[in-house]
């Protein structure tokens, strides 16, 4: 894999750091007064999801990481792996383990599209679309006048995700949720 030096670090570049594939978020060149120049780099560890901030001597280099993001359809899970299918017509399937699926587990709906991050061809992360439409599996019937929680009540969706919804939402209804915030957006007319 090619190596990249600090002056080639751009947002989105995938590099290896301490054995983990990382995606560069920000790269700032700093040169204090007559001091040593360095690059302050913010990067996301693609395996753990954590954001790291590191400094590098200007000109230092890192190995590139063989990372790809693929659009895939969620098919099913066998308890150990969550299986996704490529949408490029090949029907090829890949299995992501629990660690790779991570937080996305609460937004997985069969036949919906997800962004699967592959490192050396193996899934390491799954990202849902910004919005998903999911059915309400369980919720209390909201009683009028019940404003104890500011006009919302918790609802458990078909995926297991728990979201605060308005009192008028009932079991069986489909709602649109922002996966980035976990917030109810609107009811979807079926």
């Amino acid at each position: 894999m090619a190596t990249f030096s600090t002056n080639e670090f751009k947002s989105g570049l995938k590099v290896m750091l301490e054995g983990d594939p990382c995606s560069i978020l920000e790269n700032e060149f700093v040169k204090p007064g007559k001091g040593q120049a360095f690059n302050r780099v913010k990067m996301r560890n693609l395996k753990s999801g954590k954001v790291w901030e590191r400094t590098f001597k200007s000109g230092e280099s890192l190995e590139g990481a063989d990372v790809m993001d693929l659009d895939m359809e969620y098919v099913y899970n066998d308890g150990e792996y969550w299986h996704f299918m490529k949408t490029d017509g090949s029907f090829e399937q890949l299995g992501a383990d629990e660690a790779a699926v991570g937080d996305c587990i609460r937004w997985l709906k069969e036949q919906d599209s997800y962004l699967v991050t592959l490192w050396n061809d193996a899934p390491i992360a799954v990202t849902p679309a910004n919005f998903v439409e999911l059915e309400v599996a369980e919720t209390d019937p909201g009683l009028k006048g019940d404003t104890a929680q500011g006009g919302t009540k918790p609802a458990t969706l078909s995926t297991g995700a728990v979201v605060k919804v308005p009192l008028f939402i009932n079991i069986g209804e489909v709602i649109r949720v922002d996966t980035r915030t976990g917030e109810y957006q609107n009811r979807v007319k079926t």
Partner: protein, 325 residues
């Protein structure tokens, strides 16, 4: 990689930049400071630990593109030129970013017989003249000592802090410091001080502000002195605005022996870090005995234009930044 033939600077900024140059020339004309031109091509590099000169090879000879006109201008001063100024290109290898370009414009001037405080006042007056001419207003300029800012921010005296104490401040501030080699020498503590100062203090210097009395180990070519608390300080100042370092000034060192030993120390630090040594400029050293007492300052002219024109990248104020060559 930008492939366009177009300049990064727009027509309006081009005009304003030209106007800024006129104002600067008038400013020095009014004060009887003459404009000089010295060679950009030199026979010696700088031994400064963190500056890498661009080199040119012509047959057997190696030339260095200047990282500042300092050495040549000091030789002129030593020959009896009197106060002088210059607007010229300067080159620093590997420096590229929103405020850096390998080749950049420097406004540098030396005032014979003026104290460092007089020079600070003069820089202040120049900035005011420019702001008034371009924005029709006056600005309030602040003045702090390095220690005052450091103690205020970290509660520790920068002149007496140990390496361990500085490392602790870095950890407490949550700063990454992977780029610093802990060799345990002066250059290491300078690197820690720089990291703390540039990360936590500089960005706060939004209003135009002078910072003076730098740590003694960061004196470069400035005289050293002792401050009221008995700490060794460098007679050096910097000027900041909107968190950007705009100028670096000194009460110029005139002692050849001391300058020679500082150059030697630089090379020791270089060797300790696996960097090549740089031959000292023996003509500069020879001229020192005739160098009059003077204060000098170097202003990053591109950055000054950036601030006056309210631009956020150096690419927007110069004709062709490196990516556009």
């Amino acid at each position: 990689m930008v492939v366009t033939w177009r300049p990064g600077i727009d027509a309006s900024t081009l005009r304003t930049r030209s106007r800024i140059y006129s104002i600067i020339r008038q400013f020095f004309d009014d004060r009887d400071v003459i404009e000089v031109t010295t060679p950009v091509l030199g026979a010696r590099g700088v031994s400064d630990l963190h500056i890498e000169s661009l080199t040119l090879h012509q047959g057997e000879q190696t030339f260095f593109l200047q990282s500042s006109p300092e050495y040549s201008m000091k030789r002129l001063l030593a020959s009896g030129s009197g106060s002088i100024y210059q607007i010229c290109p300067a080159f620093r290898a590997g420096e590229m970013g929103s405020r850096h370009n390998t080749e950049f414009a420097m406004l540098e001037w030396y005032r014979v017989g003026l104290s460092i405080d007089d020079l600070i006042m003069e820089v202040s007056n120049l900035v005011q003249s420019l702001v008034t001419a371009i924005h029709g207003k006056q600005i309030q300029i602040e003045h702090y000592s390095y220690a005052e800012l450091f103690i205020g921010r970290f509660g520790q005296n920068p002149h007496t802090a140990t390496l361990a104490e500085l490392r602790q401040l870095i950890e407490q501030a949550g700063l990454a410091s992977d780029h610093i080699d802990n060799i345990g020498d002066d250059a290491t503590s300078n690197a820690y001080l720089d990291l703390l100062f540039s990360s936590s203090i500089e960005p706060e210097l939004q209003n135009p502000a002078f910072v003076s009395d730098f740590p003694g180990s960061q004196a470069a070519l400035a005289k050293k002195a002792v401050n009221e608390s008995g700490d060794e300080v460098a007679r050096r100042f910097e000027f900041y605005w909107r968190g950007v370092e705009l100028a670096n000034g000194y009460d110029e060192l005139t002692n050849a022996e001391e300058l020679g030993s500082r150059f030697d120390e630089n090379n020791i630090s270089r060797t300790a870090r696996g960097l090549p040594v740089v031959a000292s400029d023996e003509k500069l050293l020879a001229s020192m005995s005739k160098l009059p007492d003077c204060a000098g300052v170097a202003v990053g002219l591109d950055r000054l234009v950036m601030l006056l024109c309210e631009k956020t990248s150096i690419d927007e104020v110069i004709a062709f930044s490196q990516q556009r060559l």
